[in-house]
């Protein structure tokens, strides 16, 4: 099911009554989610991603704008008539019901012609349980399950009524690191098998990048960038997006462009053809540094962290407020005893942003 969001805006009255101005949680969000894709809504806390999810679900109604599922305008439909499955951050499994009863719950709500027979319900519930691989736990209660298993039950409960759209709110935030890795692959697998258009919300960029077909980066209710994870990473539209994606994060230098050259401090480090002279932010990805005795960028070496395959080089440069973290191949790593290190830069890993607007500068 294709989901179309048209100029979606959600305002909340300000909690602080002295301030008359409304809080705009989602601001003019337009996007067409292609059928059968896994979409990651990504952004820091309070950026409006959960509100967007609630709007798609129908738990919130938009202040303006339209939502379509396929051709149907669902903007004013309550959630129960939209055919959505929703997985809550805390799973919201009914603690007094067994796993099977939890999964059966949505089916037992169906009325009239839509109501399947008892055997049918049981068959569908077991199928959903098999899909998420919890079919051996059907008689347990949620309190007897691990976090990952509870998550699967919640997904099974959301899937059992065969929703047109599956929505997941921070699906992995309550899991420990190992389970998180496992579960995100599981979500990917389930989505592939069911081919249900799925939107999930996360503040963890790694999570979003690793399993999404498309990611939507949001900030303060405004969509910053939409695209395939790799494209957004390689080609961020502004400083915020470049900083938000990637671990370790991008290194941001205060630099300037003079005569088609990027200057960091007094070093001309890279040609910047076609960009008029101005002050800029230069974002350099950790993997954009190449140790080179003749490199243009000279930094004070602080520390060399060996990670096996790669080496993380921590150093300082006058143009960068924070310590710089560069990821280099282990064989090229500088000796820990040295005090200076020189790098050449990979041009496609260096992004320039206008000082004032923080928008991407490109030739």
């Amino acid at each position: 099911m294709k989901i179309v969001l048209e100029h979606l805006t959600k305002r909340f009255p300000n909690r602080n009554k002295k301030v008359r101005e409304d809080v705009i949680a989602v601001n003019d969000f337009s996007f067409e989610i292609p059928d059968g894709q896994l979409i990651g809504l990504l952004g820091p806390s309070g950026c409006g991603k959960s509100t967007t999810l609630n709007l798609i679900c129908g738990l919130e109604t938009p202040s303006s704008g339209k939502i379509y599922f396929g051709q149907d305008d669902v903007t004013n439909l309550p959630p129960e008539n939209r055919g959505v499955g929703f997985v809550f951050q805390n799973y919201a499994l009914y603690p007094h019901l067994t796993v099977l009863e939890n999964i059966l719950f949505p089916l037992q709500n169906l009325k009239g012609q839509n109501r399947p027979s008892k055997e049918d319900m049981l068959r569908r519930a077991t199928e959903a349980a098999k899909l998420v691989r919890i079919d051996s736990l059907l008689e347990r209660r949620p309190s007897e399950l691990s976090g990952g298993q509870q998550q699967r039950v919640a997904i099974a409960r959301a899937l059992v009524k065969m929703p047109r759209v599956l929505l997941l709110d921070e699906p992995l935030s309550n899991l420990d690191a190992r389970l998180r890795l496992q579960t995100r692959e599981e979500i990917r697998r389930i989505q592939r098998e069911t081919k249900i258009t799925t939107v999930f919300v996360t503040h963890d960029q790694e999570e979003a990048m690793s399993i999404s077909d498309l990611i939507v980066v949001m900030k303060d209710g405004v969509v910053q960038q939409i695209g395939k994870p790799q494209d957004v990473y390689d080609d961020p539209v502004n400083l915020f997006v470049s900083k938000f994606l990637g671990t370790p994060p991008i290194n941001v230098f205060a630099g300037r462009v003079r005569g088609g050259q990027l200057l960091l401090g007094d070093d001309a480090v890279l040609p910047a053809p076609g960009i008029p002279d101005q002050e800029v932010w230069a974002g350099i990805r950790p993997e954009g540094f190449v140790p080179d005795a003749n490199g243009a960028l000279q930094c004070d070496l602080i520390q060399v962290e060996v990670m096996g395959r790669d080496t993380s080089v921590v150093c300082r440069h006058g143009a960068c407020e924070q310590a710089i973290r560069a990821i280099v191949a282990s064989e090229a790593r500088p000796n820990a005893g040295e005090t200076k290190v020189r790098f050449a830069l990979k041009p496609n890993k260096v992004h320039l942003f206008a000082k004032a607007t923080e928008a991407r500068l490109s030739a």
Binding site: E80, V84, N90, A92, P106, N109
Partner: protein
């Protein structure tokens, strides 16, 4: 083990108080109840046996008191709990004026029982000068006036039950509104997304979630209703036997201090019978609540 005595030392004050004011009187009551023909003036008795119990159990006043108490319990506990649940649900679903209503519903709890009893009496009593407000209302709707305070048994029972329900409800509403408010709203949102009908949300989600609190209220409600006494005095005066509206606790009190007072042995026996009844009912309640699946 070495410093064990220190722990006991800390417990000593509480144990002394409990011993003097709880354990000793309890044992004393037990002893009194088996001493036949005990005379409180001379502190003598004829013998030891079950005569006191036999006397109490054959005393028509006691049997009337038992009947009254049981009726009161059976009528007021389910009704007050059910009504409190309805009111709490209502309170929980409104936003404006919620605090005001909560305060209004809580007022009976902080109001003096006897004062309110007086108000009830004025509302219901029929005197030579006035029929009382309720009777005026009944008249307005074309009914026959009834004396609720000195009239037929059912009328008196009705007033007594109404009064009891009115007095015990605030506490139940307080407990239930907070229980309802503590249910995670995500359950309701999940139920909404799954198109759960309202009735089903109530029976399958809300009720199980707050059932521990309901059981708590039922158990304490039973115990409280079995111990009813002061409310009856407030409505019908101190001579409850004459009014035919005595309760078991009232009977115990009368045996000790009433017109027919000075019979601590009968009072003790009656008190122990009441204790046995309450214990049994509470055990049954607890068993019933344990049999339900764990939440």
């Amino acid at each position: 083990m070495k410093r064990n005595w220190k722990g006991w030392l800390y417990l000593l004050p509480a144990m002394l108080f409990l011993g003097f004011f709880m354990v000793y009187p309890l044992i004393d009551v037990l002893i009194y109840s088996f001493e036949e023909g005990y005379n409180s003036a001379s502190q003598t008795y004829f013998g030891v046996g079950l005569y006191n119990y036999s006397y109490v159990l054959h005393d028509p006043y006691f049997l009337q008191a038992v009947k009254n108490t049981f009726l009161l319990v059976i009528i007021t506990v389910p009704l007050s709990t059910g009504l409190a649940l309805l009111i709490s649900l209502g309170l929980n679903s409104i936003k404006p004026l919620r605090n005001l209503f909560q305060t209004v519903y809580f007022l009976p709890y902080v109001t003096n029982t006897l004062a309110v009893g007086l108000v009830f009496m004025i509302l219901f009593k029929k005197t030579a000068y006035t029929d009382g407000m309720i009777n005026l209302l009944i008249h307005a709707f074309g009914g026959q006036s009834v004396d609720f305070i000195d009239g037929p048994y059912w009328a008196k029972m009705f007033v007594m039950s109404l009064y009891t329900i009115w007095v015990v409800m605030p506490f139940k509403i307080l407990i239930l509104t907070s229980a309802l408010a503590s249910v995670n709203p995500d359950y309701y949102r999940a139920a909404r997304v799954d198109a759960t009908p309202k009735v089903r949300i109530f029976t399958r989600i809300t009720l199980p979630m707050i059932s521990p609190m309901i059981f708590y209220l039922v158990i304490t409600g039973f115990i409280g209703a079995f111990k009813a006494y002061s409310d009856e005095v407030a409505l019908f005066g101190t001579n409850l036997n004459a009014a035919g509206m005595n309760t078991i606790v009232g009977y115990v009190y009368d045996m000790l201090y009433g017109d027919s007072g000075g019979y601590p042995s009968y009072a003790s026996a009656a008190a122990l019978i009441l204790f046995a009844i309450v214990l049994t009912i509470t055990c049954v309640n607890l068993l019933a609540s344990k049999r339900r699946p764990q939440t």
